[in-house]
C-alpha cells in the first residue's frame, strides 16, 4: 500500500514534497502526486506518515489499489 494525494483537493502548497523521507512526491499537472513504488508509508523512518500530518488540506489517504507495504 502507499499513500495517494486526492488531486481534486490538493492546493499545490508543496508542504508534503519536502518532508517525504523517500522523495516519492513530485509536482504533476498543477498539483502534487505520490509515486506508489517509492512510498513506504514512512515505515522505517517515522511512526506517522509525514506528508499526511503536514498536509493543510488533509487530502492524503491510503491508496487502496496498491498492495499493503509489508515491513
Amino acid at each position: 500500500m502507499a499513500y495517494k494525494i486526492v488531486s481534486s483537493q490538493c492546493t499545490a502548497c508543496a508542504a508534503c514534497e519536502s518532508v517525504c523521507p523517500n522523495v516519492a512526491i513530485f509536482p504533476k499537472s498543477g498539483v502534487y502526486a505520490i509515486d506508489p513504488v517509492k512510498c513506504t508509508e514512512c515505515i522505517g523512518h517515522h511512526d506517522e506518515a509525514q506528508c499526511v500530518i503536514d498536509c493543510p488540506a488533509d487530502c492524503i489517504v491510503i491508496d487502496k489499489n496498491v498492495p499493503r507495504y509489508a515491513a
Binding site: S7, S8, A12, C13, A14, A15, S18, S29, P56, A57
Partner: protein, 281 residues
C-alpha cells in the same frame, strides 16, 4: 536611468474550468499569461526610458515555463530579463515572494544601481497587493502605490513627483529616488513591440538564477516552510440554486415584457417598490 519591473506569469483566469459534475478544478491546459496589471507597470517603465534613456530590466519568480512571459516583455522593448526559479520556492506566499525578489534586486544592484522599481497593482490570482510594499519595506525604498501618473522625474536632484489615487481624491506626492511604484490600471496602453525587438527577444540569452545565486542559503526561509500563510482548501463557489425567473410571454413586445417584470418584481419584493418610489425623481 535604470528601472526594474517585477512581473508574474499567472493562469489565464478566464480559462479556468470547473468540472461540472465533481465541481473540481481542471487546471490542465490552462494557458499562462502575463499578469495584466504588470503590463501597465512595464509600459510606464518603457515610457520613462523613451524620455530619459537608460535600461529596463524585467524580473519574474516562477517555474521554468515563466520564461515565455519574460520573452514577451523583451519583445515589447525591455532590455534585460532575469528568471528566478528554484524547486525550494514551491508554495511561496507573497511574503516569501517579496523576500526572494528583494534578494534578486540586491543581486542586480551589485552590477548596476536601480533608480525605480515597478510592480503591478496586484495579481489576478493572488491579489494581496503585498509584493510591492514588501520589497519597498525590505530595501527601505519610498513606496508609492496606485500611481495614476508620473508627473516628472528630476534625475539631477534624484526627485520624482507623481499623482496617486487616494480613496476620496488624488494626492500629488513628491519623493526621492530610488523608490518603488505600483501602477494603477488603465493609466496607459501597452505598446506593440517592433520587429527587431521581436527577433532580439527570441534570441536573447535569459539569466536564470536559483536560490543560491540570489544569496538565500537556508531553504527553510522560502517555499511553504518560509511562508506564514498556506492554502488549506480550493473549491468552486456554490452556484445559486435557483435559476432566473425568465419573463417569457406570448406577446413578447418590449412594453409587455417590461410591465410584466415590474408587476412580478414588486409583488415578490414590496420593499423594493417602496425604495424606488422614495428615491426616484
Amino acid at each position: 536611468m535604470h528601472s526594474v519591473v517585477c512581473i508574474k506569469q499567472v493562469p489565464d483566469s478566464a480559462q479556468i474550468r470547473v468540472h461540472p459534475v465533481t465541481n473540481t478544478i481542471m487546471r490542465q491546459g490552462v494557458p499562462a499569461i502575463i499578469n495584466p496589471y504588470d503590463l501597465f507597470a512595464l509600459e510606464e517603465a518603457l515610457r520613462l526610458k523613451d524620455r530619459f534613456g537608460g535600461t529596463v530590466t524585467v524580473v519574474t519568480m516562477g517555474p521554468p515555463m515563466a520564461e515565455a512571459a519574460l520573452r514577451k516583455c523583451l519583445s515589447y522593448g525591455a532590455d534585460d530579463a532575469i528568471l528566478v526559479s528554484d524547486r525550494s520556492f514551491a508554495g511561496s506566499d507573497t511574503l516569501v515572494t517579496s523576500y526572494a525578489l528583494t534578494a534578486t534586486l540586491r543581486k542586480i544592484m551589485e552590477s548596476m544601481p536601480v533608480d525605480l522599481i515597478f510592480t503591478g497593482k496586484q495579481t489576478i490570482d493572488g491579489d494581496t497587493a503585498q509584493v510591492g510594499p514588501g520589497i519597498a519595506k525590505r530595501l527601505d525604498y519610498q513606496l508609492l502605490t496606485y500611481v495614476s501618473k508620473i508627473v516628472d522625474v528630476d534625475l539631477e536632484h534624484r526627485e520624482i513627483r507623481v499623482e496617486r489615487r487616494a480613496e476620496g481624491g488624488v494626492q500629488l506626492l513628491k519623493t526621492t529616488l530610488p523608490c518603488l511604484i505600483t501602477m494603477l490600471e488603465g493609466t496607459n496602453e501597452m505598446r506593440f513591440g517592433d520587429l527587431d525587438d521581436l527577433f532580439r527577444a527570441a534570441r536573447y540569452e535569459l539569466k536564470v538564477w536559483d536560490r543560491t545565486v540570489i544569496g538565500i542559503e537556508d531553504p527553510e526561509t522560502v517555499g511553504v516552510k518560509g511562508s506564514p500563510t498556506v492554502v488549506s482548501k480550493v473549491f468552486a463557489p456554490r452556484p445559486r440554486s435557483q435559476r432566473a425567473e425568465i419573463i417569457d410571454l406570448q406577446d413578447d413586445s418590449p412594453k409587455n415584457l417590461a410591465s410584466t417584470l415590474l408587476a412580478r418584481m414588486f409583488t415578490q419584493h414590496p420593499k423594493l417598490e417602496r425604495e424606488i418610489a422614495k428615491r426616484a425623481r
